[in-house]
Amino acid sequence: MNSPRTRIKPWNDPRIRSWVFQVLVVGFVLWLVASLFSNTLHNMETRGIRTGFGFLDQTAGFGILFSLIPYEETNSYGRTFFVGLLNTVLVSGLGIITATLVGFVAGIARLSHNWLIARLAEVYVEIFRNVPLLLQVFFWYFAVLQALPAPRQSFRFFHDMVFLSKRGLYVPAPVAEPGLGWVIGLALAGLAVSIAVARWARKRREATGQEFPVWRVALGLVVGLPLVVFLLLGSPMSWSIPALRGFNFQGGGVLLPELVALWFALTIYTGTFIAEIVRSGIQAVSHGQTEAAAALGLRRNQITRLVILPQALRVIIPPLTSQYLNLTKNSSLATAIGYPDLVAVFMGTTLNQTGQAVEVVAMTMAVYLTISLTISFLMNTYNRRVALKER
């Protein structure tokens, strides 16, 4: 028997309703964007603010405390962008390395059987996690580093080679001499070969079960061989050692107090979060895995390397990456103490001088957004690779 097809009224048809709703939402968003846009254009016109990116070629005319690339006041605003960007990358990179070290040490220490060590790590985590980062930056900068003595009375370490004073940390700096390029090139080539060897060794292990001493070979290729060549070439590198001349130091390399304070604060603050991530990652691997691996006859370091670590890292790496992202974004607190990072230089001074808020803010946000989206894309790719293959 053929029942007559019930006809759905158009306003009850889910497809039509979904279309109408979407058109309404998109229309609303477009209207919002358009009205903001026209408001902005109108406001900029009445206030006499120029538009466009022409300002990037104009002379900046302000000095920057610290720059990784050559920079002078006569350079353009476009160059201040790159100076700031590189300074952000520098402090984030340094912070990521040390925060990872501190975090892994503290995270493992919290699981230590030694009661005192475990409590110490816990106290560290609970104190520094619950205090705002900006406050910690202020503390290191204003309360600790500003209280250091003047250069003449500075603390000296290692037979007058390292100096710590109000002006910063002065350390010996390496000076390249001809021939060093070969050594660095050799080390890089060694790194590439090591990666290839590691891949081959893993394939062979999966096929035959035989182990290959990858780490020792890699160490020889990356460190050993370049070192031999370095010595054969007659050590083509010298050290520039800081020395007190007048009121300040000459020579050597300097870590500015602004950089040191920010680096310290980022390390200690982010380290607490990484410690918690590491602890929960290790705890997430059940003890049965260790026992099963031992029952299969694996040695102790093999158990850690082949059984515990891969499983713990699967839990650790995604939140670890988001901590790295947080650290990079938090490095923008530099602006509070005057370390010339991207936000301080570009969104601060350049914006104030040019008044072109829309372009400057958009460029700055685009940088952070690009970093974030790139890293989360890589993270998702990694996650798909290591995800449990469930049925």
Binding site: V25, L135, F138, F142, A336, V343, A357, V358, M365
Partner: protein, 370 residues
Amino acid sequence: MSETTDTFVPKPSLPPPSGSVGITYWVRSRLFDGPVNSLLTLGAIWLLASTLIPLIDWAVIEAHFIGTDPNLCRTGGACWLFVDERLRFFVYGFYPDGQLWRVNLVLGAAVLAIGYLAIPNLPGKRWVVPAAIVGLPVLTILFMHGGVFGLPIVATDQWSGLTLTLVLSVVGIVAALPLGIVLALGRRSQMPAVRIICVVFIEVWRGVPLISVLFMASVMLPLFLPEGMQFSKVLRAMIGIVMFESAYMAEVVRGGLQAIPRGQFEAAAALGLGYWRTMALVVLPQALKLVIPGIVNTFIALFKDTTLVLIIGLFDVLATIHATIVDPEWPDIAPEGYIFAAMVFWVFCFGMSRYSQALERKLHTGHKRN
């Protein structure tokens, strides 16, 4: 009857071997088992002794607690006199003297509402939540800003100190929650246009630092608005914070939505419920309950992040303490000042994180992994 019975009388159990109980055993097994651990313990004791003893000496024993004159602190350890002297400034900032009861009223209402929600198993919470979400901002505007009931207007640039920190964080979280729920629902929507808009909104705000959002709110927002419409600086910062925080809140809520099994959606559909009723009556009540710890954690992060408003020139609690530190009337109190500020924030944040952990344990009903 014979007097003797053959019932078995057990001997009293032997005490445990003397080497496996008591304080000596604990010390041996938890502090000094093996050379490595012994070295670590000794190193830790040395570290503690060399830092804690001078620190306690400076901060407590040699410190000055009583008095109001900065000159008392010329010698000796830490100087805590400024805390008592400037406490009103730290809490209320520049809020006018005769009007402090208004701040106390609003903060008291917030504490009451949040306290009621925080205590488990009290009745009627489903009415307290919307009342707080609507009522707290209204109460803040009515009383703290004034201009009604014959109250003199206190402009928002006079809101400062701990008051401003609390207003920014409480209003921020209260306003970010509904927005975050809408965004989370949008991100899981079947409609591609809605989903894309929500994903873009969430990822953009999550991808940039809060400072740049605050800069944007303070520099660019005036350009966005039609002519003649002006927001005060506090309100602009608040808008920036709410936008930023709603993106994080959306991700927290999305986590809860994903944890609801498909069967719940199917059962609701079988009962004939439409999308909104499915969400409001079946899915969201369960999902939101699951993510309460996540919401508390977001609140802790927001509470710490409100310190950033001092960079765009607002006077939060950290800024009032910082102002006291650079005040020539109180020389050389930088460490004391920052330590005091740290203690204030620590008490709030540590308390909330303990609460969130306790909740997590309570809500952890065994169907999750791990």
